[in-house]
């Protein structure tokens, strides 16, 4: 196991392997996104009470799920970079923050669009919605802290500490609909117990969640590659890479 662990510390290796992964993952992600979208938006039955407006869950729920999971990815990468001083974990953490912030924004925005016809308001200060807004602030705080440091190595460590501290909030956000009585409905998909959503609507939703996870991975890897090139711009392997590109 250890040789692999050491390889992760090597930027050229990571750059090459992420390129190889993306070559496969990117088309698969696009295919899954398009399939899930068409399936969910056109071929599922309309809902009894909400009519067609419920279809926004095919974007809203995956974005929200992955936005929360993205925070774990960021904090976990931060922990690895603090404990084992692994620079590539640093890069991953830095790359995860803007993607997570964007997904959180998408979840809030689609929720507002859905809330207007259904609840009659764009925004309510309800436990789940407020806590998702806090999640957005947590992500933006990490981005802002990183930008504030001139020394990028210290910036990475500081952001790692901040994202670990922010972890305290994540279980609260995740459980907010169960703990507080709120306008937002509870979770429909459960790992244990009865799922309160019909299979004809569930399968496209699961596909979309998987597609969003893949999308997050793609964005993360693309971001990491850009960051790697920027950080290592003075090294031999980046120069070689650029020269090859110029020749081709």
């Amino acid at each position: 196991m250890w040789p692999i662990f050491h390889k992760f510390g090597s930027p050229p290796w990571l750059y090459a392997i992420s390129g190889a992964i993306l070559r496969w993952l990117l088309p698969i992600t696009l295919l899954a996104l398009v399939t899930g979208m068409v399936w969910g938006l056109l071929f599922t039955p309309s809902e009894n009470v909400q009519g067609n407006s419920y279809r926004i869950i095919y974007i809203h729920v995956p974005a929200a799920v992955v936005a929360l999971a993205g925070y774990y990815v960021m904090a976990f990468a931060g922990a690895i970079s603090l404990i084992w001083r692994m620079k590539m974990a640093d890069v991953a953490m830095k790359a995860a923050a803007p993607v997570g912030a964007a997904l959180t924004f998408v979840a809030l925005f689609t929720g507002a669009v859905w809330g207007k016809p259904t609840w009659g308001t764009w925004w309510v200060w309800d436990a789940r919605i407020t806590s998702m807004l806090i999640l957005l602030f947590l992500y933006l705080g990490v981005v802002a802290l990183y930008e504030a440091f001139d020394n990028k190595e210290a910036a990475g460590k500081a952001c790692a500490v901040l994202s670990l501290v922010g972890m305290v909030n994540i279980p609260i956000i995740y459980k907010s609909v169960d703990w507080w009585y709120s306008l937002h409905q509870g979770a429909s998909i459960k790992f244990t117990g009865e799922t309160s959503i019909h299979s004809s609507m569930l399968y496209p939703l699961l596909l979309m969640i998987a597609a969003f996870y893949a999308l997050f991975t793609c964005c993360l890897l693309l971001n990491m590659r850009a960051e790697l090139l920027q950080r290592e711009q003075r090294t031999q392997w980046v120069r070689k890479l650029i020269n090859e590109d110029v020749v081709n």
Binding site: L82, F137, L140, G141, L145, F149, A154, V161, L162, G166
Partner: protein
């Protein structure tokens, strides 16, 4: 432990010798409280309804503004660097810093808060809950604010950034703090809210010094 007590004494002495710096947060508290009747209108009923939230938000803001300076002067004159090199555990040393910060801001704020509560027409049954929730809550705020201060102490433009970093973490404290006062005003039991604030305090005392120590080491290295 003895070192920690001496550090606490030093911080308090430093604070007492500049009484204006102790007075400033209280003055800030009074002024912001005075803004609300001007903005919301002076009707006693309106003010009474908003009073729990207003008092808590004001306490939170004055804590936020003072948190920025917890480590700054010691960072600038180099004594923080000496503290990091000292054999004594940093965990206890930063606790001493935060303890001094809380004693000179949060504690005083909680003590004078009944005065401002009366000015905002907060019903009398809410006052005990206000003092109790501020006592526990501001301690959590000081600990969390210390993390932000430790992470940004080396930065030149730390002031605005620290509010971005720690306000999201302040929010749970605000929720339960003002809920405690509102429950007391409505004649409901306050103990559950205070218990949750107490649990947050325990968690913060156990974990925040670790984050602060890590943050200080990063800031010194940068």
């Amino acid at each position: 432990m003895q070192f920690c007590a001496r550090l606490l004494r030093r911080q308090l002495l430093l604070a007492v010798r500049r009484p204006l710096e102790i007075g400033n947060p209280l003055l800030f508290f009074a002024m912001v409280v005075a803004l609300f009747p001007l903005g919301l209108g002076p009707s006693p009923d309106t003010l009474a309804g908003f009073a729990p939230g207003v008092l808590w938000i004001t306490a939170l803001l004055s804590n936020l503004l003072t948190s920025d300076g917890v480590f700054r002067s010691d960072f600038e004159d180099g004594s923080l660097e000496q503290l990091l090199l000292a054999p004594q555990p940093l965990f206890l040393s930063v606790l001493a810093y935060i303890g001094a910060h809380w004693l000179t801001t949060g504690l005083l704020l909680a003590v004078v808060s009944p005065l401002f509560a009366l000015m905002l027409n907060l019903p009398v049954q809410g006052i005990a809950a206000l003092v109790a929730s501020l006592l526990v809550g501001t301690a959590v705020l000081s600990l969390v604010g210390g993390i932000g201060a430790a992470l940004t102490v080396g930065l030149k433009r730390g002031g605005m950034l620290i509010s971005l970093l720690i306000l999201p973490l302040y929010m749970p404290v605000l929720i339960f703090g003002s809920a405690a006062v509102q429950a007391a005003v409505g004649g409901l039991p306050v103990a559950p809210y205070l218990a949750i604030l107490g649990a947050m305090l325990c968690l913060a005392i156990a974990l925040a010094p670790l984050a602060m120590a890590a943050g200080l080491r990063i800031s010194i290295d940068a």
